[in-house]
């Protein structure tokens, strides 16, 4: 038997065997080796673990940057109360940075107004996005506090520790403010993300 005849004989085998091999080859092309699958699974697990770790440690979360649900609730609650009461300050507690959140806020003074200092955030922290504009208010007396708080509560607010640097700041200065828990310092700032048009 010649090579040609052998070739011809093989060429005439049943169609089902030709199809079977073609189907198998097609499915092999979609086949991912087990080693690759393991690597992909391990990578996915690592990503999930890191994400969970961040979540559990309370590391800065971007949603809070411009005042999230908590700050919004603070504003809403304050809006529904008379400005003379101090209860609205308590409502702002939720906006005080937590222990693990970035405590420092670096800003550049843009404008000094009578009751407010307008500043630009230089570095993102747990509450403020880099480049956003904030209004900084300070009070020296209880009446100041009440008056300013009423205004502040209509927007979103966090507290910061008093610093002479802020009081003496002029336009163009770059200063660092420590965000604070309420009650630690009698002279506190209220810092509000300044909304567009406000």
């Amino acid at each position: 038997m010649t090579r040609e005849e052998i070739s011809q004989a093989i060429g005439e085998i049943k169609t089902e065997y030709i199809e079977e091999a073609a189907d198998e080859e097609k499915s092999r092309k979609r086949y991912i080796p087990r080693s690759i699958k393991l690597i992909l699974s391990a990578a996915a697990c690592a990503v999930i673990a890191v994400a969970l770790m961040f979540k559990m440690n309370g590391l800065p979360v971007i949603e809070n940057t411009e005042g999230g649900m908590e700050s919004e609730a603070c504003g809403q609650a304050a809006n529904s109360m008379p400005p003379e009461t101090n209860e609205k300050d308590d409502q702002c507690d939720t906006a005080v940075p937590q222990e693990n959140q970035t405590q420092m806020l670096r800003v550049k003074i843009k404008e000094c107004r009578e009751n407010e200092i307008v500043a630009e955030v230089l570095e993102e922290n747990g509450y403020f996005a880099q480049g956003s504009t904030v209004g900084i208010m300070l009070w020296q007396s209880e009446s100041d506090k009440t008056q300013n708080s009423g205004q502040a509560a209509a927007r979103e607010c966090v507290y910061a520790q008093y610093s002479e640097m802020i009081e003496n700041a002029s336009e163009g200065d770059e200063i660092e403010i420590r965000l604070s828990e309420k009650g630690k310092d009698e002279k506190m700032f209220i810092i509000m993300p300044k909304k567009a048009g406000s």
Partner: protein
Amino acid sequence: MQDNQSTDKKIIELFFARSEQAVTELADQYGTGCRRIANNILNNESDAEESVNDTYLAAWNTIPPQKPDPLRSYIYRIVRNIATARYHKNTAPKRNSSYDVALDELEACLASSDTPENQLSAKQLTEQINRFLAQLEKENRILFVRRYWYGDSVSKIAQETGMRSNTVSVRLARMRSELKRNLEKEEMQI
């Protein structure tokens, strides 16, 4: 499979409507497979390409009246026949394709008897091979068909199946021995 069937049906309808789009669709669907088979046999890109084009022409000339089902095997058979005819006519003396090696392996296995009365016809041999393939395990049968029908090289089969080349070679050698024993058992000396 469902997708293949509906695509095949659409292609055949285009052939029956004598639309040239049929050839374009056929090339999209089975062009890669056809080129692979032709190239395995001929080991020459331009010869393979010509064989594939001849295949499309043959399909155009035979559908209709033919209404092949499955279309894939029909087209693959055509391209294999055209490529092997070209191989035996032009390139056999060169013996440089993976198909050459495959044929060498089979030739050694199906060692021919000197007496013409003991020789099998190609048709009889096909029947023997079909019976042999039917009794093989699916995995081995696919190895055999890929090597001796599609003309795939041992290294390519090994790469795509995740086996070592040596394992593929050993399995094929065992299958050839088995085939030879089967033929001898039935006193069909080749």
